[in-house]
């Protein structure tokens, strides 16, 4: 078995020798560079575009919305976002003009010589302003959807009756989370070529080649086979290269078409941070009804996220946040009302966790506050309410697989030495300038697309055998650092009982690979991996049916059978398409049913120290325990958790986007601070394995899970250390100062 072992990652060697080719490492002869001229006003009407006479514009390729050959919208869920603003400006980074030239330095000067004259309109910059409808910035006037991209209501049981009970205490508080930049170390970048014969080809850093493909078809009014999208080695994504690359690919391709030359566009860090998507800021009001013994009998949650200027993926982000807002608890009466609202900042988008970190932060902080007010043990309160096999979630989904979150929590608390430390810190803190705290959060994360998403996607994966017996996985799922190549190869290797070295994963290129769906939603290993496995089984069965092979006959026999088959039939490929399992049902109208095929379950414990002289906050120790089904690759799986936890620590206590008129004012790594090696605590990762029937070899999704727990665990630890109730992240020294001085 290769599954479960620490086999070296497929592309590891190229990465440590500098041989891996990222988009900016690729050069074409006669290539131009492209840049974007953006609006500066957050909202208004374009009156004129001025090109300063100091520049010899005839040396440049210049593109405006007028040059677009097809439709000027980025095809995603809705078609509201233009590739280039034509008359209306909806956010301060709105792209308006594109320029290309062979010399980067001259180009930069030219960019500054373009002025976009805008008749300013009053912007909407916060969730509150958007809800108050101070201005209508999205949707038709007087429609119920003014400023609202999407709204959901989830109802289970009778919340009003639960809150009216005589034997319950009621609690209510509002929680807020800020924007967060994905901050992959490789900025967004694309290279495009165009020819009348082949149409558009783009190479770039991306998570979802078929999103780009879908977006370019209407932009150029070209047929399927005239748009080709190729993923280059990608220096991290975390959601930040899910939907945004479509826009950049479109820009590079528009320039390439007009110039008749290859065009490379690489964002610099400032532009990448300011103009591309970030995590949705949120506000969550949680009301709870709790009996004196600690039974959570009612939850009433109002969850709002700031979607920015265009719809993009906000409805789906909102959906995941809504479904996760009631946590891993068996609460008989739940109402969740949620909205994604429009503002005049650049669209917020996909980021690891996808709405769940926001609403989970609110609930896990809230439960600690409830425990504190009722003088209950926060551990006992959680354990009393944990969902168990056979019980139902907020969407009335019955949990069919075994789950023991109490055991996961016990494991985490023991590893962190929670009880002893808590006692010690409480005893020492009164006499110490540096206060110490320990806190935890318990949560779940659904794997795969929400609701009917996987059914709609109907992903396809192929497996191809070559005459030498090597097997290639054909999928659009991208390797972005998380280990796609390795995990797919492990799955095929064990399924076919062939050596790992005989399995390759094709470079995602829409000409060669089928659409296995986007590389998002913790779905690659579990959902796509299962398709890889069934395609491999189909391929082997073809050889068996031909009478030339039997399972386990070995690499040589397999190669001989492949050679024979290919000599006769030309090639040997097998495809597999997603089928919704019979017992997974979802009602999109009522928002009830099986929101996800399965869940990962986790308990994270954070230890902090807070220096009351300097207000410095540090996370000193971290334990992350989770049940994730079968662990396919222990090193890669730990790596996912460790990396996600570090991002979660940043989300909690370091990373603050400073907004000025809808624009990110601190768009550089100097003053947008992510954790360094000196800041990150030791992160201990513990796995429980409860194999799930929904993934290959029992695997479940893990990519997003680790983003959910750190922020509430850390803030709960700070609350314990200082006996305060912080309700917003990021929580920086200045926020601490304001809180304790109040």
């Amino acid at each position: 078995m290769i599954v479960g072992t620490k086999i070296p990652r497929k592309e590891g060697l190229q990465k440590v020798t500098g041989a891996a080719r990222y988009v900016d490492d690729i050069v074409f002869p006669d290539m131009l560079h492209g840049v974007t001229v953006r609006s500066t006003a957050p909202r208004g009407k374009i009156k004129a575009i001025h090109f300063a006479p100091s520049i010899r514009w005839n040396e440049f390729t210049v593109i405006t919305a007028k040059d677009i050959p097809g439709k000027n919208y980025v095809a995603l869920i809705t078609y509201d976002q233009p590739f280039l603003a034509d008359t209306v400006i909806n956010h301060p980074e709105e792209p308006v003009v594109l320029l290309a030239h062979h010399d980067k330095h001259v180009l930069e000067e030219a960019r500054r010589a373009v002025t976009i004259e805008v008749e300013a309109l009053p912007p909407v910059l916060t969730i509150e302003e958007s809800l108050a409808k101070t201005q209508i910035v999205w949707g038709q006037d007087n429609s119920p959807h003014e400023n609202i991209f999407k709204e959901y209501t989830v109802v289970k049981g009778d919340v009003a009756a639960a809150f009216a009970r005589q034997d319950v205490s009621l609690f209510e508080a509002e929680y807020a989370t800020g924007a967060q930049e994905q901050l992959y170390i490789e900025n967004n970048g694309m290279i495009a070529t165009y020819s009348a014969q082949d149409g558009v080809t783009v190479w770039g850093s991306m998570q979802c080649p078929y999103y780009v493909h879908k977006g370019l078809l209407p932009l150029f009014a070209l047929g399927d086979d005239k748009v080709r999208v190729i993923q280059t080695e990608t220096g991290g994504g975390f959601g930040g290269k899910e939907e945004y690359p479509t826009l950049l690919a479109g820009h590079a391709a528009l320039l390439a078409m007009k110039a008749g030359k290859p065009v490379k566009m690489i964002y610099d860090r400032q532009e990448d941070m300011a103009a591309t998507t970030k995590r949705h800021p949120s506000k969550t009001r949680v009301k709870s009804a709790v009996t004196k013994d600690g039974d959570l009998v009612g939850l009433d949650i109002d969850f709002v996220i700031d979607g920015g200027a265009y719809n993009t993926l906000s409805p789906v982000v909102l959906s995941r946040g809504t479904i996760h807002s009631a946590g891993p608890y068996h609460t008989p009466n739940v109402r969740v009302h949620s909205r994604a609202v429009a503002t005049n900042s650049p669209p917020h988008g996909a980021f690891r966790g996808f709405g769940a970190p926001q609403s989970i932060f609110a609930l896990e902080r809230h439960l600690d506050e409830v425990a504190r007010k009722m003088a209950l043990d926060p551990v006992a309160l959680r354990k009393r309410n944990f969902i168990r096999q056979g019980e139902t979630t907020a969407t009335s989904q019955t949990i069919r697989e075994p789950v023991d979150l109490a055991a996961v929590l016990d494991k985490a608390l023991a590893a962190a030495d929670y009880d002893a430390k808590k006692k010690r810190f409480l005893a020492m803190n009164p006499s110490s300038v540096v206060k110490r705290g320990i806190g935890f959060a318990t949560f779940m994360h659904g794997a795969g697309f929400t609701g009917s998403g996987e059914k709609t996607l109907a992903s396809v994966v192929g497996v191809e055998a070559l005459a030498n017996g090597h097997v290639r996985v054909l999928a659009a799922s991208t390797e972005i650092g998380q280990g796609t190549n390795t995990v797919f190869a492990q799955i095929v290797s064990d399924t076919l009982a062939l050596p790992y070295d005989m399995i390759d994963v094709a470079q995602p290129d829409t000409r060669d690979v089928p659409n296995s769906g986007p590389t998002v939603a913790s779905r690659t290993c579990m959902v796509v991996g299962k398709l890889v496995q069934s395609a491999a089984i189909g391929l082997e069965q073809t050889l068996v049916n031909a009478g030339d092979y039997k399972h386990g006959a070995g690499a040589d026999a397999f190669a001989a059978a492949c050679a024979k088959y290919i000599a006769k039939h030309g090639s040997l490929k097998c495809y597999s398409q997603y089928q919704q399992p019979a017992n997974v049902e979802w009602d999109d109208k009522k928002y009830q049913g099986d929101a996800y095929a399965t869940y990962a379950w986790a308990a994270y414990v954070a230890e902090v120290s807070v220096d009351m002289a300097t207000y410095e906050i540090r996370c000193d120790d971290f334990v992350a325990a989770q049940e994730i089904g079968r662990v396919v690759h222990p090193v890669l799986a730990e790596g996912q958790i460790e990396g996600g936890v570090a991002q979660g620590i940043g989300y909690a206590i370091y990373e603050k986007v400073v907004w000025k008129e809808g624009r990110m004012a601190n768009g550089q790594m100097t003053n947008y601070i992510m954790p360094t090696s000196a800041d990150a605590p030791p992160i201990r990762v513990l796995f429980d394995e409860q194999p799930s029937p929904h993934g290959p070899f029992g695997a479940k999704g893990i990519g997003e899970l680790p983003m959910d727990g750190p922020a509430p665990a850390i803030l709960n630890a700070i609350a314990m250390a200082l006996d305060v109730s912080p309700r917003a992240i990021p929580f920086l020294p200045e926020d601490l100062m304001a809180l304790v001085k109040k």
């Binding site: 620490k6 070296p8 990652r9 592309e11 590891g12 060697l13 190229q14 990465k15 440590v16 020798t17 500098g18 041989a19 891996a20 990222y22 900016d24 490492d25 050069v27 010399d103 980067k104 330095h105 001259v106 000067e109 500054r112 994905q182 901050l183 992959y184 170390i185 490789e186 900025n187 080695e233 990608t234 220096g235 991290g236 994504g237 975390f238 610099d268 860090r269 972005i480 650092g481 998380q482 280990g483 090193v635 890669l636 730990e638 790596g639 460790e642 990396g643 996600g644 936890v645 570090a646 991002q647 550089q668 790594m669 100097t670 992510m674 360094t676 090696s677 000196a678 990150a680 992160i683």
Partner: protein, 171 residues
């Protein structure tokens, strides 16, 4: 602001340096950074650009053995110096113990920070063959990694330090 045309022939100046053991003579513009020289003139694209401002460490190379951010080092300022990049780390097909440990222990995920981290680590081990974990953390604190949370990177540097010590090898 006057236009700077980087490739106008009259502004080019001669530069000699040693890159990964090879003596290199090039003509560069006074505004060319060492990073641009390596990546775009010499084709050594293993060194990465993540910010171009000295913040991320993706562009770390060794200048006479010391780690520097190539993005904020002017090419002309390295006249006569020895520059080592990730491409020179392996000894032919034999990986450097740091590279080997990074692959085995999962210290490179997306790989974009990896070249810079490897060179910072190499400089550390040259100075301190058996660093404590805290010393490794400090030595690498200028190399941002968004993927790993650093744990596996620290493990890999410790592993390589042990391998080098046991072989009695110079890092």
């Amino acid at each position: 602001m006057e236009a700077v045309v980087s490739d106008a022939p009259e502004t080019l100046m001669a530069l000699t340096l040693t890159v990964n053991g090879d003596r290199v003579r090039v003509a560069v513009s006074p505004t060319r950074t060492l990073l641009e020289l390596l990546r775009y003139d010499l084709g050594l694209t293993g060194t990465k650009q993540g910010c171009d401002k000295g913040d991320c460490g993706a562009c770390t190379v060794l200048l006479d053995g010391r780690p520097v951010n190539a993005c904020i080092t002017l090419a002309l300022s390295v006249e006569g110096a020895r520059v080592d990049t990730v491409e020179g780390l392996a000894d032919g097909p034999r990986l450097h113990p740091l590279q080997d440990a990074f692959v085995r222990l999962g210290a490179a995920q997306c790989g974009f920070c990896t070249s810079g981290v490897l060179l910072s680590a190499k400089a550390l081990l040259a100075e301190n063959p058996a660093p404590a974990r805290l010393q490794i953390k400090q030595a690498l604190s200028g190399n941002l990694c968004r993927c790993t949370g650093y744990t596996k990177i620290l493990d890999a540097v410790e592993d390589a330090a042990r391998a080098l010590c046991s072989k009695g090898q110079q890092p």
